[in-house]
């Protein structure tokens, strides 16, 4: 009582509908992938072409120049590069230990209910629109920093030039703090996945040797995740480097290289946000695109670097070296 057709039915019965369906699936998926790649290339081309005017006027010395003078037609990227590097570095320095602590708690130590609850709350942090976070920075974080954090820093660490000077509610330090908040969920969620991937046999092996939890975490979990942690940090860095709106809201704007972190400054991205609407000359617009091109290159390089680390230093994969 089989409903199966005879074996002779195996050939010559390919239905047109099936054929079209398969082709269509291939076409749609391949098309979407190609479109994504094409978009990256087109954006890069547009940015480079728009930066051409500034590039032919200033060449590579644009990168070393601190000028930004519309009337005298001189522009340079150095203050923005400084602001970008310093604010991102502050963000990374603050966010990494916090994120590692969160990831360890969620993957190794927390009871199950807390893993779910805290885990999703931390990820919600990444869902806060950056413009909202920037507003919170202006209204809450800025005043707190100006009234408490910065006076405290200058009292104890004032002998360091970066922590000297008048506290202010907008500046590079506050931009770094805001960026840290944005970077924490990225690093924390990647690291949590990394730690969960550490084979439980390794953890048991360490515990069976009389290791404490902390010794097990330090000796086995952190060591075998080291390259992944580095990659997570670089991905977080990439996020910090490119963030524009929230930074523009709290950094205070100033195309200078301030000696104190309390003072206002600018990042490449915040400068573009601040001036794109009200540019007055073509050269100024092209210079903004030049800043954008630099940012694009930095972004691509950090991303490639992160991928390289993951591939090159994967301890389990390269164990046979």
């Amino acid at each position: 009582m089989s409903t199966l057709p005879a074996a002779s039915e195996l050939t010559g019965h390919r239905r047109l509908r099936d054929w079209i369906g398969d082709r269509l699936l291939l076409l749609l998926t391949a098309g979407a992938s190609i479109a994504a790649v094409a978009l990256i290339v087109l954006i890069a081309l547009k940015v480079l072409r728009s930066a051409h005017l500034a590039f032919s006027a200033f060449g590579l010395s644009f990168v070393k120049s601190s000028a930004w003078d519309v009337n005298h037609k001189v522009f340079g990227a150095l203050p923005g590069l400084y602001g970008t590097a310093v604010s991102s570095l502050i963000a990374l320095l603050i966010a990494t230990p916090l994120a590692l602590a969160i990831a360890l708690f969620l993957s190794e130590l927390a009871p199950t209910w807390a893993r779910v609850l805290v885990g999703s709350l931390v990820e919600t942090l990444a869902a806060i629109p950056s413009v909202v976070l920037g507003l919170w920075g202006i209204l809450v974080l800025g005043p707190i920093a100006a009234n408490h954090l910065e006076p405290w820093l200058s009292r104890w660490f004032g002998w360091l030039q970066v922590f000297s000077g008048q506290p202010s509610s907008s500046g590079i330090l506050i931009a770094g703090l805001i960026l840290a908040i944005m970077v924490v969920p990225i690093i924390a969620s990647i690291c949590r996945e990394l730690f969960l991937q550490v084979p439980s046999e390794l953890e048991e092996g360490a515990l069976a040797l009389g290791a404490t939890r902390w010794e097990m975490v330090r000796g086995v979990v952190l060591t075998s995740s080291r390259p992944g942690i580095a990659a997570a940090m670089i991905l977080g860095l990439g996020r910090a480097l490119g963030e524009a709106i929230a930074v523009a809201q709290v950094i205070g704007a100033g195309w200078t290289i301030p000696t104190s972190l309390f003072k206002p400054g600018d990042t490449l991205a915040s400068k573009i946000v601040e001036e794109f609407q009200g540019y007055s000359t073509k050269l100024q617009l092209s210079s903004l695109f030049y800043l954008g091109a630099i940012l694009l290159v930095i972004g691509l390089v950090t991303n490639l670097f992160a991928q390289l680390i993951v591939r090159r230093f994967d301890v389990y994969r390269t164990g046979a070296r």
Binding site: A206, A208, L209, T223
Partner: protein, 278 residues
């Protein structure tokens, strides 16, 4: 499975007379469960010093759970509970104030799958001595442990190479070296050769013969020939299913290996060792 050949049993070297042996573990009415699942219950047995004690039985009879109770590795499993007593030199391992870390420092464990750390060969062995503060003469300690695990000659020229490059059998001997580097008294081996090929298995078995002069060994194995080859005493666990259909591991018989395999006193043991079941 083929019945035991008398040769295997005859290969046992010295007769083991428990009367003259010091008791290391005295287990009384042990019951271990995960949540509402009872893994093993009603276990009473004594494990003697400088002997190899094998735990055999069909899968699901709780032999792994049992051995993991002996160094409190089950503490890491959520929902685990134990009742009864495990006396180690007269001290209740689950008593108040007993530190797991101290327990595991004295009672080492080797697992089913070799689990070397993704570190160098040297650092694998040196890791536990370092965290326990045994940093004096570390090189000698590492060498001694690797020699004790019969691995030294194979790795002495590449101590700084990754342990993951070793073969499975070498990795397992490295794990044994890692465990004996902190000079425990007892070594628990949870099916240490089940993931290895026959040649590597033979080297592990040979090693166990050498190790028992310095250590007390407890080995879980599903391989009866292996138990017959390496163990002085053997405990047979089986699965006991009650009226409600709930199964739990029980200790059926515990005796000298020769006797357990040739003249078992329980019908279930006889069925198992002659291959009629399991």
């Amino acid at each position: 499975m083929a019945p035991m050949r008398p040769v295997d049993v005859a290969a046992q070297t010295e007769p083991s007379t428990p009367q003259s042996r010091e008791t290391v573990f005295d287990i009384q009415g042990l019951k271990a469960s995960y949540g509402s699942n009872v893994a093993v219950k009603g276990v009473d047995l004594e494990i003697y010093r400088n002997l190899v004690t094998a735990v055999i039985g069909p899968s699901g009879c709780g032999k792994s759970t049992f051995i993991r109770c002996l160094n409190r590795m089950n503490d890491e499993v959520p929902g685990f509970r134990q009742e009864g007593k495990i006396l180690y030199h007269g001290i209740d391992l689950y008593g108040d104030g007993v530190d797991q870390i101290e327990v595991r420092r004295r009672i080492g464990m080797v697992f089913q799958r070799p689990n070397p750390f993704p570190k160098t060969i040297y650092d694998n062995v040196a890791w536990a001595p370092r965290i326990l503060g045994l940093k004096k003469d570390l090189d000698e300690r590492v060498e001694k442990a690797l020699k004790g695990a019969a691995l030294w000659d194979e790795v002495k020229d590449r101590l700084k190479k990754s342990a993951l490059a070793l073969s499975g059998g070498q990795q397992q001997r490295l794990c044994i070296a890692r465990a004996i580097a902190i000079e425990p008294e007892v070594l628990l081996l949870d099916e240490p050769a089940s993931a290895l090929d026959p040649i590597a298995t033979a080297s592990i078995e040979e090693l166990m013969h050498d190790l028992k002069t310095d250590y007390t060994l407890v080995i879980v194995t599903h391989n009866m020939q292996q138990a017959a080859r390496v163990a002085d005493r053997t405990a047979f666990f089986s699965l006991d299913v009650d009226e409600s259909g709930q199964g739990a591991g029980v200790l059926v018989e515990y005796d000298e290996t020769g006797k357990l395999f040739t003249a078992p006193s329980d019908k279930r043991t006889e069925d198992y060792v002659t291959g009629r079941f399991g």
